[in-house]
Symmetry: C2
Subunit: 119 residues, 2 copies
Amino acid sequence: MDAELRAAHGLTVVGYEALLLLSEADERALRRIDLARGLGLTASGVTRLLDGLERAGLVEKRTCSEDARVTYAALTDAGAERLQRATCSHVGSARALFEDRYSEEELETLAELLGRLRQ
Amino acid sequence: MDAELRAAHGLTVVGYEALLLLSEADERALRRIDLARGLGLTASGVTRLLDGLERAGLVEKRTCSEDARVTYAALTDAGAERLQRATCSHVGSARALFEDRYSEEELETLAELLGRLRQ
DNA sequence: TGTGTATACTTGACTACGCAAGCAACTGTA
DNA sequence: TACAGTTGCTTGCGTAGTCAAGTATACACA
C-alpha cells in the first residue's frame, strides 16, 4: 500500500497521514511537535519527514508569534491538492484491504481493540 | 518492548523471533529463505539479521548436501540458552502488555481478526 | 547436451526511522 | 532579576530494513 501510494502520488503512508492531519487542523497548520505525536514519531522523525514534504512544496514553515521556539508546519495549496488526489485511491485500496476481510461489525471491534494498545 | 529485550539480552524482537522459529524447527535449523518467510522479511533482510546473530554466536551456517544453493541457519547451544533466558522476561512483558488490556476472549478475537490480514 | 529459467543467497546503495547531544527560547522560583 | 529546568527543534550517527543487481546452482526440455 505504501508502494502504491508512492508510485501513484509520490507520498509515503506517513507523509499522507501528515498531510491529512494538517488538513484537519485549524488554519491547516500544526506545531511540529504535535504533528509528531499525532503520527507516532519523534521530533527528529518529523524534521526529516517535513524536509521532504517541504522540498516537494506540499508543506511550509510558519513561525509562531507567541513562542519563538515553535514553528508550524502548514499545508500549502499544492499539498491540499495532492492530498485530495491521493485520498481517492488510498482510501479505495485501504477499503479494499479491509472490506474484503471484515464485516462492518468486525471492523468496529478491531478498531476498538487496537485503540486500547496506544494508551 | 524491543528496547527492553535489547537492554536485558542484546536481542531485537525480530532476532528473538528468529531464534524462536529455529528452536521449534527440525534439527533446530531452517533454510534462510524459510526463515525470511516466517519472519516477514526479505532474503536480504535475513542475511543482515543473521550476520548479527552469527557474529554473536547464537546462530551458525550449515550447508545442504542436496542443494548447494541453500544454506541453513542453525541455532547454536549459546543461541538456545540466550533464547531461554530471554523468553522469561519477554513473554512476561508481552503478557503484561496484553493481559492488562484484554480479556481472554478479546485476545482470541484479536488474534483471529489480525490473522486474516496476513493472507 | 546445451540452454533458458527459476531459486537461494549476498552485496551496494538507499530510506526511514531512533537516540543523544546541542542550541535557543520559555517558565517557575528564590 | 538571575538562574535552573523544561520545551521545541535540528543535526550527526547508528540501525533495520528494502530493492536492484549479481553470482552460483538446480531443473526442464528441445
